[in-house]
């Protein structure tokens, strides 16, 4: 595995971001917006209105804690023993002192964890990001990250260890945590989705740039960069 990891470095970023799935992506984007307007956003505001802040943050903490076993596995697959160790200590601290992950004493102790997933593992193994994809229900992604997402769901270690009832509770917690985030970041999300001239293009840009930043693909290599002093009218 060391060979596999050492043999491949981060793939270069494409010169311009092509969008061969644009037609289908835009249909999915319209579907996702309708879904948000009719179900997700109202549910998030209902949840935000009923559940007090501490309860919502407890749910969010449990959700992050439930993600840690997968984070540990992926840290190891990425040959990052430091991140794997940090995620392991975090899981131990928050599950015990944090009473099953409801509280997050680890962050207060400086153990913030290294959230990751199969999308990043595929990136570390040398898989290119591929094309931009908007996934129904989920939102912005890429070919690589969408595959990572499927792997996140089906290769989650908890899937093989939790009994059915606990697994269903876990799914419920993840849904509530998702609604909590939709509520908490509603200003940002609303401004992108409902206050942009082209919300599809804006969301795609934000997602791709932020995702590349998360994966450590530096801005200097960004071929989309335009120096406004070189050609102020350039595109």
């Amino acid at each position: 595995m060391c060979l596999a990891v050492a043999g491949c470095s981060a793939p270069p970023l494409p010169a311009v971001t092509p969008d061969p799935y644009e037609g289908r992506n835009r249909s999915v984007h319209g579907f996702n917006k309708t879904l948000d307007q009719t179900i997700v956003r109202p549910s998030a505001f209902g949840y935000g209105g009923v559940a007090p802040g501490p309860l919502r943050s407890g749910i969010q903490n449990i959700s992050l804690n439930l993600g840690l076993p997968s984070d540990i596995v992926n840290s190891l697959l990425q040959a990052r023993p430091g991140a794997a160790l940090e995620n392991t200590v975090r899981l131990a601290v928050n599950t015990t002192i944090g009473i099953g992950g409801v509280f997050d004493p680890a962050t207060a102790m400086g153990i913030e964890g290294e959230p990751t997933g199969y999308g990043e593992t595929l990136h570390v193994w040398g898989m290119a990001e591929g094309n931009y994809v908007e996934v129904p229900l989920i939102g912005p992604s890429t070919d690589r990250d969408a595959l990572g997402l499927v792997m996140d769901i089906f290769l989650d270690p908890l899937r093989f260890t939790l009994p059915t009832v606990e697994a269903n509770v876990s799914t419920g917690v993840q849904i509530l945590a998702g609604l909590g985030r939709r509520y908490r970041y509603s200003d940002t999300i609303d401004s992108i989705l409902y206050d942009s001239a082209d919300s599809y293009a804006q969301l795609k840009l934000l997602y791709l740039q932020n995702r590349r930043f998360q994966l450590g693909q530096t801005v200097e290599n960004d071929a989309d960069f335009v120096d406004p002093y070189e050609d102020p009218y350039g595109q």
């Binding site: 001239a197 804006q202 200097e220 989309d224 335009v226 406004p228 009218y233």
Partner: protein, 204 residues
Amino acid sequence: MANELSRRRVLGLGLAAGAAICLAPGLPRAAWALDVGQARGLIDDVVNEINRVINSGESEAAMLTQFEALFVRYADVPVIARSVLGPAGRQASPEQISGFTTAFQGYISRRYGRRFREFIGGRIEVGDARAVKSYYEVITTAFLQGESPFEVRFHVSDKSGRLLFFNIIIEGVNMLASARTEIGAMLDRQGGNLDALIAELQRT
């Protein structure tokens, strides 16, 4: 006062350097470019001003006015506006360019100024600065209430003759590119009519 003085000195240097370049076209740019420390100093000033505003306890409307003033004072608004307009600017008249610049400045201050609400009670700390390609990058960290700290990079240039920032990168997201996408979409919606776009920006 000291800031005003150093800014004038930078302006003077820029003009002198411009003249030197005309006289000696072979002179390398690095010979007169501002150094990393000055770029960091500019962002120190910007960040101190932002921190002062977001912790002043003033009304949101008062803060918005102050943010617009900071944007005009510390950012290269004409260059940002022309870059955001993109190729559509090539056919535009000087009057249209100047009308667009003014409309864009108000629009961007209202649109992003409202988002500064999330910064109230928080703070920004200036970290490293370095030379990148033809400009300087100053790396800062934003600490907002109840959020993990995140990275905000300012891109600074002296090519206007003054030391000003022309782009902000928040966790990898390039605000110039984001504004380009938005303004491009608005212009498309107006059928490419720049005057109609200016009118829409004034209304928005």
